[in-house]
């Protein structure tokens, strides 16, 4: 088990890890300080529509005369919020189910894994769309939908590492000297799941952000006036020729964000779990 500090050190040593770490940090700062950094309210129509990028409107304005730069910043908030909360939902449920399935095996394991197989039987974006169709649109429902979609990967990851941890000698020893189930799980087994779990969480974040953007693009995710990169892009599509900045900036930020999380996830995997290296 590597300590947090060592993981961090190794991550910083790897140039890609450094890029990922700094990128994510910057992104979080942008999102947290969006109200300070933004020049205008993201919903306010402050200028003539479709103004080209200039000193006042760094990324130009959209077809409603709203400041794209401010909307991008607030959009980062929405993206990260949706990403973190939906992965949070998926990770916590997935963690509990994974531990239960991996530790107890037998029937309960089969039931949980069967449900996961069923969830896995849907293409993920389709499942997310289906769930929002039922729950209704809007930010909370988008989070829930993406959360549910991501549960199975966490269950599988955690279950696999629990099963391999159970075979470890010291866990066997602890068990044989009569350590109770819960402390055994928490103290001896759970720590073994952390590495693959963290890697999975980082990669799930990037896919959650991508799913959110796709759904908002289809008009099923975040609803106006909340700024979301996906919905900004879907709006901008009609004006891409007259106002390419309306298209370029959201795409740029979507791609960079997903890229950064992928880079961080890859380097984390190399550091934490060299076995998984691809």
């Amino acid at each position: 088990m590597k300590g947090l500090r060592q993981v961090f050190r190794e991550l910083v040593k790897d140039p890609m890890g450094r890029i990922g770490l700094i990128g994510v940090l910057l992104l979080i700062l942008l999102a947290v300080f969006a109200p300070l950094l933004a020049h205008y309210s993201p919903e306010k129509m402050v200028s003539m529509p479709k103004a080209a990028p200039n000193q006042q409107f760094w990324f130009g304005t959209d077809n409603y005369g709203r400041d794209i730069y401010s909307r991008i910043l607030y959009g980062a908030r929405v993206s990260l919020e949706v990403g973190l909360i939906s992965v949070g939902i998926a990770a916590s449920i997935g963690f509990i189910l994974g531990i239960i399935a991996g530790y107890f095996e037998g029937r309960i394991d089969r039931i949980i894994m069967c449900i996961m197989d069923i969830l896995f039987a849907f293409p993920s974006i389709l499942l997310a769309i289906f769930i929002t169709a039922v729950l209704g649109r809007g930010i909370e429902n988008t989070m829930i939908a993406i959360g549910i979609v991501n549960i199975p990967v966490f269950v599988r990851t955690v279950r696999a590492s629990v099963i391999s941890a159970k075979g470890l000698e010291y866990v066997q020893n602890a068990k044989s000297i009569g350590v109770k189930t819960f402390p055994l799980l928490m103290r001896h087994i759970a720590p073994n799941t952390i590495a693959p779990f963290t890697v999975q969480a980082t990669l799930a974040l990037s896919s959650a952000i991508l799913t959110e953007a796709s759904m908002s693009f289809l008009g099923l995710g975040i609803q106006p006036p909340d700024p979301s990169w996906g919905s900004m892009l879907s709006e901008a599509r009609a004006f891409m020729e007259q106002a390419p900045w309306m298209v370029i900036f959201p795409i740029l930020f979507i791609v960079i964000t997903i890229l950064i999380f992928n880079i961080l996830g890859d380097s984390l995997r190399d550091v934490l779990d060299p076995k998984l290296k691809t």
């Binding site: 919903e43 529509p49 077809n63 106006p224 009609a238 004006f239 020729e241």
Partner: protein, 511 residues
């Protein structure tokens, strides 16, 4: 491996190289998929554009708002409530069967719910359209007599609407309705409808005015994206499409394209569901109207290419009461705020309303601008953009809680006659009075106007009714837009007007 790659690349090249050469087929770019082609029941815009080619009416409107015979060769008016139409004798349905007086009778019986099918929910069934037809009968094979219950000055105008199209009863008998079938007499026949993709029409060889029709067919392609439609126009993939004002400058720069425009009778309005308690308060409705900044909205949504309007747009000329005379249409946010406060709302006690909007850019974008403008007066709008079919369904339900919406942004056609723009939309129980408006005086005035042939007195009645409706603010007019068509430069013979914007009979390609 290498061979495979070369093979693949050459295949791709071949595909790109030989693009299909279109013959004399007009290719249209549609904003959304039509919902069906029953002219009596479907008011949806895309469908109407198709139905106007499939079906015809007894009379049609000239650009100066006078009428000429289409399926009727001539008509006479022996007394104020009787109309006798002499039909053309060479008209055939697309099935090849000649159209006779019996078909006209059937069509109107169907509209009025007097056939075996019962009430089919026809758009023209209410008194504002054909509801006051007392009897329709075939005098002989080519003569039809209509007797009205009371005098209706708008009767001819109503007949020119596709809601009164003449349909083939055999086709209805075979298909149940006309949503996916074609029972018309028009210049083009329905050939194929690939859902979400295209509708293709072919020229009807036995059309009564076949010599006049120079196109071999029309294919409507569904291209949701306006930018994609514009690109398709520029690359010659399609020949014609509507275009919003914001994209017109690009089209104008392109020598291969031509821009046609006309001041339409289409207007954007915001309607209140009268079953929502908060909106039953007139102060709230008026505050909404006061808070609406039409100029700002027009700048954003229509690039300035539209006119602020009430519920009777300026294209109706003297029938329309000028906006200056209408106090509620003078934007006054402070006054609106005060009224909201009076009604009990404040910064902390805001009013949340669910608004239905549509996928059409004008509707969707207007909703966003209104959302922003109304935020100032403590109103939070929650916008849901409805797909075309659901939009129409919701529109019908907007007077009831079942609609699920408190307000709706609509794009309505004011027609060519105040009967349509006032009575059709505001008279109690009228077909298009979807928001549940009801005012006894308005009903009375509409009836009076209809039975008054004298235009000046009629105008007086309509003006009074108009002002009452406007003051009640159940439906607030916002903007009446200039409509644009962008066509390829070699397309000729098309002159859209507010009266008739979808007459493609005379179109042709300049070789």
């Amino acid at each position: 491996m290498k061979k495979c790659l070369i093979l693949f690349l050459s295949l791709v090249l071949v595909c790109f190289a030989c693009s299909a050469l279109a013959d004399n087929i007009l290719r249209w770019g549609f904003e959304s998929d039509p919902t069906g082609f029953d002219p009596h029941t479907n008011p949806e815009d895309m469908s109407i554009r198709v139905m106007n080619q499939l079906y015809e009416t007894l009379v049609a409107t000239n650009p100066d708002m006078t009428y000429y015979g289409r399926l009727a060769e001539s008509w006479e008016n022996p007394d104020e409530v009787t109309y006798v139409f002499h039909l053309r004798q060479n008209v055939k349905f697309h099935s090849g069967r000649p159209m006779t007086a019996a078909d006209v009778v059937y069509s109107f019986e169907r509209i009025l719910g007097r056939t075996e099918a019962g009430d089919i929910g026809a758009l023209g069934s209410k008194s504002t359209y054909y509801g006051d037809i007392d009897t329709v009968e075939a005098v002989d094979d080519y003569t039809v007599k209509f007797v009205l219950k009371n005098v209706n000055a708008a009767f001819l105008g109503n007949l020119s609407s596709n809601y009164g199209a003449i349909v083939d009863k055999d086709v209805i008998a075979a298909n149940g309705d006309l949503m996916r079938a074609d029972g018309g007499t028009g210049p083009f026949m329905l050939k194929d409808w690939v859902r979400d993709n295209n509708v293709s029409l072919v020229k009807f060889a036995d059309y009564w005015e076949a010599d006049r029709v120079r196109l071999d067919g029309i294919t409507y392609y569904v291209i949701g994206d306006e930018s994609a439609r514009l690109a398709a126009l520029r690359t010659g993939e399609i020949d014609i499409s509507t275009m919003s004002a914001s994209n017109v400058p690009i089209a104008e720069k392109d020598a291969n394209l031509k821009v046609l425009s006309y001041q339409s009778n289409q207007y954007i309005a915001l309607g209140c569901n009268m079953s929502t308690p908060a909106l039953q308060d007139k102060r709230v409705r008026q505050a909404i109207t006061y808070a609406t900044d039409r100029e700002a909205l027009i700048n954003i949504v229509f690039s300035g290419q539209a006119m602020a309007c009430s519920i009777v747009p300026p294209s109706l000329g003297h029938w329309s009461v000028p906006l200056d005379e209408l106090d509620v249409y003078h934007t006054d946010v402070e006054k609106a705020k005060a009224m909201m406060e009076e009604a009990g709302y404040s910064k902390t006690n805001r009013l949340s309303l669910k608004v239905a909007a549509g996928l059409l850019d004008a509707i969707r974008q207007s909703a966003v601008v209104l959302q922003q403008q109304l935020a100032e007066i403590y109103i939070d709008l929650d916008i849901v953009n409805l797909e075309q079919g659901e939009y129409v369904d919701t529109w019908y339900k907007m007077a009831t809680p079942e609609a699920g919406f408190d307000m709706m942004v609509v794009q309505d056609g004011a027609g060519t006659d105040p009967n349509r723009s006032v009575a059709f939309f505001f008279k109690t129980g009228a077909s298009a009075n979807v928001f549940g408006y009801s005012n006894e005086r308005v009903d009375e005035l509409c009836d009076l106007a209809l039975s008054t042939p004298d235009p000046d007195i009629r105008e007086g009645y309509y003006n009074e009714a108009q002002k009452i409706c406007i003051d009640d603010c159940v439906k607030t007019g916002i903007a009446c837009m200039t409509m644009y068509y962008v066509t390829s430069a070699n397309l000729d013979g098309f002159a859209p007007t507010a009266a008739d914007a979808s007459n493609y009979r005379d179109m042709y390609f300049v070789k």
